[in-house]
Symmetry: C2
């Protein structure tokens, strides 16, 4: 089973890296870019681990390691 975890900064948390991307895109001839925010995707290979427990196990992984829940939101997507 594979899973994807998307970790993004919470709304309202300053994102200098995103600002830099938006600024660079503007300079490169893309004035339509108003704002950009950067997050992480973590693709996990869970081997033969069962589907029922997977969601709660992934939640635990996010809480413990993958996301800093003070400033970041996360979303888990299970795929086959």
């Amino acid at each position: 089973m594979k899973a994807k975890v998307f970790v993004t900064l919470k709304r309202g948390v300053l994102d200098p890296q995103g600002k830099a991307i938006a600024h660079a895109l503007n300079s490169l001839g893309f004035p339509e870019v108003v704002d950009a925010r950067q997050g992480k995707v973590i693709e996990l290979d869970l081997g033969d681990a069962g589907g029922d427990q997977a969601q709660s196990r992934l939640d635990a992984m996010c809480q413990k390691l993958l996301a800093n829940t003070v400033i970041e939101d996360y979303r888990v997507e299970l795929a086959g």
Copy 2:
């Protein structure tokens, strides 16, 4: 219009950060994690930019700045 760009390392490219995540998860009591790979999500706010051209403009952004196409793949997702 908003868009999300997903940038991931190509298959076969070494991902030490992903390896570190997998190792850390194993140590934290998640032995089911066989492998992990880390990528980026970039959320772009494109203001009122039109939908027809948006896809090709986003492709150009990825080629020019957002992805290193030698070692990275990218995928663009348009949303409203």
